[in-house]
Symmetry: C2
Subunit: 466 residues, 2 copies
């Protein structure tokens, strides 16, 4: 607020009060939109859809486990390869990173719940080729390897290419019949290219729910299945999200954290010259949640045209950073560079297993650390950085997570999804489309020689030179 | 240029010509500064310092290898834990990620050159605790584990805390005498807290060269030692950097890529309203180079005061992105959001092992992919995205790497280091200090109870509330 960082950069009490009265009206508007059925992603955490999905996902996970237990010596699914990109990948990565140790994939079966998880969210030949080589060495006949393809249409070029590669690879190692048992598809329940393939080949499958866009799909089977295979408590995840959904339905903005966040960030972006929003968790586990958030915020809000058809070039740039690591990389810029950012800290109050800094070195300059814990140091660094930013008149806020659990991560996901909905209303844009992605898709089809898209290859060559 | 993306957002031929004449003068200025001895980081790739460092680093690596070969059954260093943060970590991570497979740490000894590498660049208790647990399981007596602590002073709180923890941990598992043989320190050659510890405990050690700041230290022993342990060709890395150093010493800006890059980016940042620079490699391997670059650009250029003492709040915000992955996350914003960014692509022309997309699925909609390679698809996606950005009048450029090798990565590192030097001159700021980091450091000391810093704890509590 302006009493801390000055009137040029901070919000005044009056401007905040004005914002809050506007936010209250938006809550009513969201409630009506919800009732009209166009916010299906909020239904994902409500009865009956949430229970249906937990049941469906758990059942498929059980079938997969039963298959591996029966079909291979040593009997379990040890390697899970997810083929997906954007909203079909980021949620899976974020949940795994937040709720499993960073060392999960290095840990041997004996100590590791669930399979190793590899999310192939690119078509880099080195990424894909090296993983296949690694799996062929670790699991020569691929008896313990499962491939989970996630694509609503089946036509996203990256996922389609990977699917062709991994399907062929499984067939070469396992034979055509068994290969199909090692594939689980998450796709549209009734139409599209992947649906047709699933029906023909008989893969186990789960739905991408109707009316839920990729970046709002983490709490659907798209994000829940790999979490369930990894033995995370997906009911608890949805319960946290549901509680946050209720909290973020409060008409009073002071009791509604999503409305507050969106109001504050959009005010800074549009009226205070701070269109950059840094999400900076003080926890390696939460860093990938910032990556998930990046898609949500960028793709939902970055829009040329508003709802009245005016050219607005709306949007705010999400930036991920990691504390304390980026104190030694980005904080110099955040304090002394252009004052064009809001810094959002995420702080963890209690770590499940803290580490105590031992004594005994006998060096005076370091003795102040002895007997303290790393958690204490981490949060002291965060507080020191917060202080340093305030000293430089840089707006910042802190989200405190009591602990990292399925429940709190579910809360966090829903908090930002609802905040994004508010931000879309405040910017008066459609937060649910992504028109600008289309040009790149069709231009890729043209350059790759897909029939019917020849004119796009010509357009590209004409624009960029042959 | 303006003929492609319009006069509002593009550079005109005239403005570019004006810029180029200015850049030529800066090259002379850099040459004089270099001769006066204050650009020591450029000396790192020149004779005799480059040969000295290759020899020193190789000799210590040989001693380490000999020790493990003699002291343990199975005889090699299998796990290398780097303790460092900021410039003591980012270069190590970037080299490993660029030049070793993403699966390196998952690969068994038999197929893996060099040790697994773990860079502990944070004090997150989960990160540290989980790694220690993992290593105790993989290497119960820690006979195959080496700890490499990197700190010029030894007083950086994060690295000091980690050092206390890992030193104690080695001593508990190996006994006091052997533990010291499992530690290699990279620190100041003559003074400081870590130097005193090294001298007392007799660790193998390598120098942080005088006059080289952390973010310019990747081509010194700071970055070279873990690379050498990982059996990368560090002489080849330095040769690539040296060739780029020569190229970037050309007075004619058209023959000097660092001058061109800096001139273009600073012009866009200061006169065209585009202070955000996205580095977007189309290669997972190169993504961590963007992270390394982030520190270089942010910490060097983000400065409140210019060389004449005027308050300027200079700087440009580096953002890392990954192609194609972020096409499905950020490109909507980059095309339709505020036109406040320059997008820098990095493209790899030849991948060492490409992967061919097989045929045989028999689905019409996907047949255009069959028989093509992933490398072809990846670069078509990049070209399509470049086209889409130009269509939206968004400035962008492409750096083409013929292949990913020690030589080209060395070139890339030096290119950006010299570009940063030019950018500092163009902004008329000191690119080599980081005054804003100091406040957070002393405030942390205060909050952690370090004697002599009590007043800082009071200041923080007064500012933020107790």
């Amino acid at each position: 607020m302006s009493n801390r960082i000055g009137p040029e950069h901070g919000l005044s009490g009056d401007s905040w009060a004005g914002l809050c009265s506007r936010l209250g009206a938006l809550t009513d508007q969201l409630r009506e939109t919800q009732a009209a059925g166009s916010l299906r992603w909020r239904d994902l955490v409500r009865s009956p859809l949430s229970e249906e999905h937990v049941d469906q996902v758990s059942e498929v996970a059980d079938q997969v486990r039963a298959y591996y237990a029966e079909s291979a010596p040593g009997g379990r699914c040890k390697h899970m390869v997810v083929l997906g990109i954007g909203g079909s990948a980021l949620g899976n990565i974020a949940l795994q990173a937040a709720l499993r140790p960073q060392t999960h994939n290095l840990t041997s079966c004996k100590f590791r719940p669930g399979p190793r998880l590899y999310v192939m969210d690119n078509v880099d030949p080195a990424l894909v080729g090296d993983l296949m080589l690694q799996l062929e060495r670790a699991d020569p006949g691929l008896q313990h390897t499962m491939v989970n393809v996630i694509s609503k249409s089946g036509e996203t070029a990256e996922t389609a290419a990977q699917f062709l590669i991994f399907r062929d690879w499984l067939r070469r190692h396992l034979g055509a019949e068994r290969a199909g048992r090692h594939i689980v598809a998450i796709t549209d329940s009734s139409q599209g290219t992947m649906r047709a393939i699933v029906d023909r080949e008989g893969y186990l499958n789960l739905p991408v729910p109707d009316g839920v866009g990729g970046r709002f799909s983490v709490l659907s089977p798209v994000g829940l299945f790999s979490a369930c295979m990894g033995e995370l408590d997906i009911a608890h995840l949805l319960a946290g999200a549901a509680d946050m959904d209720r909290q973020c339905s409060e008409s009073d903005p002071h009791r509604n954290p999503a409305a507050q966040l969106a109001g504050m960030l959009i005010e800074f972006a549009t009226n205070r010259g701070k269109p950059n929003h840094v999400m900076m968790p003080y926890s390696n586990s939460l860093y990938m949640l910032a990556d998930w958030y990046r898609q949500l915020w960028a793709e939902s809000l970055g829009k040329r045209i508003d709802l009245d058809g005016r050219e607005v070039f709306a949007g705010a740039t999400p930036i991920k950073a990691l504390g304390t690591t980026d104190q030694h990389s980005q904080v110099q810029l955040y304090r002394e560079g252009p004052n064009d950012k809001v810094i959002g800290f995420v702080e963890v109050e209690r770590f499940a297993h803290d580490v105590t800094i031992p004594s005994g070195l006998g060096v005076e300059a370091l003795s102040y650390l002895e007997g303290k814990t790393l958690g204490t140091l981490l949060n002291a660094e965060k507080r020191a950085t917060e202080y340093a930013l305030v000293e430089s008149n840089r707006p910042n806020y802190t989200i405190r997570m009591p602990e990292i659990s399925e429940y709190t991560v579910g809360q966090f996901l829903m908090l930002w999804q609802v905040a994004t909905a508010y931000a879309g209303l405040l910017l008066h844009i459609d937060a649910y489309d992504q028109p600008a992605v289309e040009t790149g898709k069709v231009a890729t089809f043209g350059l790759m020689g897909r029939p019917g898209y020849e004119q796009w290859a010509e357009k590209v060559d004409k624009s960029l030179g042959g």
